[in-house]
Symmetry: D2
Subunit: 409 residues, 4 copies
């Protein structure tokens, strides 16, 4: 359980920090201007493309992908501080470094389970950021937290699969450059509960695909990042070769995909919390109210103190999770992944709430990233499985009679 | 301390409930469509104007204004359940009944402190909903929670006042129909701390007035309600007759204006909580996850139970506050006003948070009013004075040695 | 819903307050000395007997018993402020005024359901404080929160009942003056779930009764109040005339008994909170730390403010509950009783926690009543039904489809 | 930042666990019986002395003392899991292994700052458990959280010091075997704020020393561990050679003493939380209520899940603190020490609260260690400095402009 950053981590972290300070943070107001200038555009803005070039030059590219046949990125433990740093500028840094969800998860999925043809067609351009991708899992009609309830049908018909169903909150899918959707549905509703689901690749331009509308999250539509779309699949026909993995493997692949995704979200959230704490520090040292600097108020100090303690403790738990994934595998780290998936968004929501309160009206507005950070943390208490699902699983495990290991020091 | 609704309250409540059920709630999707159809418009949409006619026909108009020379509305205690009901459809019901902030507070201000000429010019059209108004108090450059820090200058120059300063979060000011701004500034920075401020009426079209940009609140711009504007006043000249009350009375009038406003916000928030609880109940009885209806899950039941208890207790405290305002005056109710101003938004934020969690992604989206309710409650922990200011005052009062009354049963 | 105290309430409240200030609070250190002087005694100390005489002289006696054939006390609404006042000195005031649990509940039970002979034998001496009584319901072997699980057997045998079972937390039963136990058990384990239980009167000196040991609550044994005993009933034989009500009516009578008891607990808890707040106020105005009075610290003010708001809101909910019991009956007030049963102990625990924190080590010790108040509040989150049972019931009710009344304003 | 237990840690942990399972836990009811049999005795009971022999035989003795001239114990990182294990049986394990507060802190103090003569007279018998010691710092008359306010006078008079003052919560001092008191007082009230204090050794039998009375903590008097005494020093005269360190060094030595003490408390608290979680698990798997095992209830699972997450995250923060103390010194770990001092007691209080709720009345009673664990956690939010002092310091540090290190990953 050694969390000391190794040489590569130190180098990468330093590079990313410099990239952030010199290029990404200063680009935030530029992004805001470009969005304001092209309000109806759902694709990445020019400033993103410029940052991508800079990131690529520095080798800060696809770092999320663990070393292996298709990736030369970082281990989870090495990636943790890098991903955390990208969270400090959540709308720009991850996408600039081609480390943004949902493409990261989709790339991992293709790297692990894709056929050579699938990888050539979709993984390579994704790794190169020439296209983007969406993951279509959540459905408006059912409690998708229970993945066995998914209703979208994937019916075999000769050499094809025919897909029918309605999905929503497909992040990125409003972007016209989002060329492919990975769709989770049921190929065999009669099979065992976790063997009914499969995943297929559906090119955006396939007949029967309708991108219905953008969904908002607390009023944000995230139009610079492709938004979150409702997508209708009406008798959509794709070749059988578009199946990822085998029939009935959809549930297992979703779990495999979601594990690292959840951890990456937690890492970035810690960075968002740090950004909020930095902003609090600066604001508290310049604002005066009721006879003193905000930095001198007992209540403000308590907010900062409690926030710091939560962040410090949870960062260590994230590092332990990453270390465990690297050394024992994602499955062995399941309990830890569930733990941080529940604890980190809650904590970061609290930190952001304090920061908003310190900033007053500005904290609610577009002039700080705080309300967006709050919304991101709040949304992650639902995205990739609501807290209650993870808490129930953790509680069940914790109550298992004679739980022999993992509990004692 | 008799909270039993009298005959008029029962009648009005019944009328409002019927109006809501038959006209307002069904108009919500219509409003959404009209906003989508005219995204660049910041004025009230046709559906609002239609609802206004219907409200007027039913006498559900200006009910917020207590009986007196300029109002024939309801007492605070009578208004409480009416205002709560309007909170159930927060974007439509208050505005339809001409009971929406900030116009309500501005109308009260003019009714109490306006000259006959000011009332003729501004109050009458406001009571008739022919124009709208904004209240310009908060400034980006200072902690406006401490009203003595306001920096906008109101300089006497011959028969005029000349106003210079920057305000923001002027609700409604993006609406071109918002014809007048009430601006708080300092006429005498050398006077005693609470005698430096004054208020002047500034017509929208006065030279030097620039409506700079809309501010967002958690991603919402509230464009159907005139948004929240940043407004620049650059050497804006108005006749001295535009002064409301006397020089140096701005602070006192602001306090007088904010008292009822805070209480109205709390009443409406309770209605928002009830709406959220209704939505939770309906959803929980139709969604199935992990082998059962959500309504049967222990965790969901706990959410609903804790929410109900908070709402029931705080409703009584709101009623007591209203009763105290009616019987002993707004000043005597100051402690209670501060108490509900702190407690109600916090509680409603928790209720909305549970409701969002129950709804999953839909709860975060535009398909339910839940995320907006959450944002409204969160914003009200800052608007009209942040929690910390009220808590400090309440705590100071509660710690006053030998506090002889109001504490013991 | 008129909570205004009537003339009798005003008179009684004033009398009780005077009695408290002049006699009860000054007697607290006397009680401590008398306990220290007779550590092995479990009966009421001399100071209690003296206070009883004083209370009786003033007519402050049995005020808990609503007007009726056997009581000439106060209505619930009238009793609320009186009971709250007694909570300010929880170890002395209730017992001095013969208004202490569990005797109050037992007296109500006998008044409502006892035969004339039972009332003559047990109710009269209880009303006169010549004896005390215990209520034996909770069992160590089963989750007694689910009353249908009670295992004690009450077997009919000719003209007798024979009782076998083990009870604990029988408050008062360590007191040798506790002359009678009301025992809940099953007369017919084959009946419908809520018709299996019955209650019998068991005189303390009946063969087979063993008072096994005192139980502690957070280290407190409450030996001045008869403690909380484990009691073994080993083939205990009593005449069939000792049955209270009819066979199978035990569950219903327990519910009837517990309703008012829960409300009285809440009333007294509010008084404990007020005592804690008074102590906080006094302490904060005399202690200096880190350069200022505690009363001037922002964190302390926040504690006091949040505490006051909670107490004010919950007092109103308690009053509403009492009013509802008086006007619509205990059954109609069930939801409100459950609500305050959950909310009040939690709130008072928080208040006491703040008070302890303000006092430092003294707050944990016998030199203030704060740790005892904390323990009392904490214990009441379990006594008379754990929070979870009430929350589940409240949540279930709140989620009932189309809940037509009680929700809307 | 390598937290992997080394070979010695693994060995010691295994030995301690075995010692606990085979000897300490089974001795808990024996201790209860021995206390009941000798209620007026304040010294260690026979079972403690027997366990000490067993611990000594196994080399599980004085493990708290880091390697150095006077200790051959464990580093902080090695000690962490050992101390945590002792927390599982908090009344027996620490004292059995001569690792109980306050003797540990006093031994460290003497090891670091004592003269050879002081060490020979007091440290050696303490290391051998032949005597016990108390630390007299807190005073009833002042807010001792602010150490500069201590009022006890230590006056130089020729070759002696003369001590006058009143202390309380001197843990262990009721034990007649507690042979020496380390007393903090002011030698120079005119010096700089942190140079006024000094410490002297005062043998128990010195004329003028009066052990006044035992203090309780939530009703517990801890009489098997020497209780918590109020001690009066009335013109107590000791030779000048009894001064520890130099005059004016008392404040600095207190800080040095308290650092490791706070960390040890946190380690043991984690063990208490684990004990509570074990008890919850066992209970939940055997108790049935409302139609199912408690282990199957959603609310119970949530309690366990949230508890586990908190414990796991905070254990890592404790390990980091220990590692930092070992590698960078106690002073460099100050922020982390403050962080865990605040966070761990709060978390363990929450865990114990859940456990009590699960157990019902038994959880409040002497039949489980839960209420004692709760009280211990609650008390540690005050002992060794209240939360507010640490939060203020942490907040101040976190708000320091341009905090260059320790924040970023």
């Amino acid at each position: 359980m050694d969390f000391q950053p190794d040489a590569l981590t130190v180098t990468r972290t330093e590079q990313v920090r410099e990239f952030l300070d010199e290029h990404v943070i200063p680009a935030e107001p530029v992004l805001a201007e470009q969005i304001a200038a092209t309000p109806d555009d759902w694709s990445a803005r020019p400033v993103v493309r410029e940052l991508r070039e800079k990131a690529r030059e520095r080798g800060l590219w696809n770092l999320f992908l663990p070393p292996g046949p298709h990736g030369d990125g970082l281990t989870n433990l090495q990636y943790a501080p890098v991903a955390e740093l990208t969270g400090r500028s959540p709308r720009l840094a991850p996408v600039a470094m081609n480390c943004a969800a949902p493409d990261t998860g989709n790339m991992e999925l293709l790297a692990h389970f894709g056929t050579p043809a699938q990888r050539a067609e979709w993984l390579d351009p994704l790794l190169d950021a020439r296209i983007r991708s969406a993951f279509c899992m959540t459905e408006p009609a059912v409690a998708s937290s229970d993945a066995t309830r998914v209703e979208t049908a994937i019916r075999r018909d000769g050499g094809d699969y025919v897909i029918s169903g309605r999905k929503w909150f497909a992040t990125g899918a409003m972007d016209p450059g989002c060329a492919v959707f990975i769709v989770m549905g049921k190929t065999d509703p009669g099979a065992a509960r976790h063997r009914q689901q499969s995943m297929v690749l559906v090119p955006r331009d396939t007949p029967g695909v309708t991108v219905v509308r953008p969904m908002t999250v607390f009023g944000y539509d995230d139009r610079d990042h492709g938004g979150h779309a409702e997508v209708l699949f009406d008798e959509v026909r794709v070749p059988a070769a578009n199946l990822i993995g085998g029939e009935g493997e959809g549930f297992a692949m979703a779990q495999a995909r979601l594990g690292p995704g959840r951890v990456h979200h937690c890492m970035r959230l810690l960075g968002m919390a740090e950004r909020a704490l930095d902003l609090m520090r600066d604001r508290a040292n310049e604002r005066v109210a009721f006879g003193g600097l905000l930095a001198e108020k007992g209540v403000v100090r308590t907010w900062v103190a409690e926030s710091r303690v939560e962040v410090e403790a949870l960062r260590l738990l994230v590092l332990k999770t990453a270390w465990l994934m690297d050394t024992a595998g994602n499955k062995a780290a399941m309990t830890e992944i569930q733990a941080i998936k529940v604890a980190v968004p809650r904590a970061v929501q609290r930190v952001a709430d304090h920061a908003i309160q310190l900033f007053g009206a500005a904290g609610l507005s577009q002039d700080t990233p705080l309300a967006e950070i709050f919304a991101a943390a709040r949304a992650l208490r639902l995205a990739d499985g609501p807290d209650e699902v993870h808490l129930a699983a953790l509680g069940k495990a914790g109550l298992r009679p004679k739980h022999p290991e993992g509990r004692q020091p």
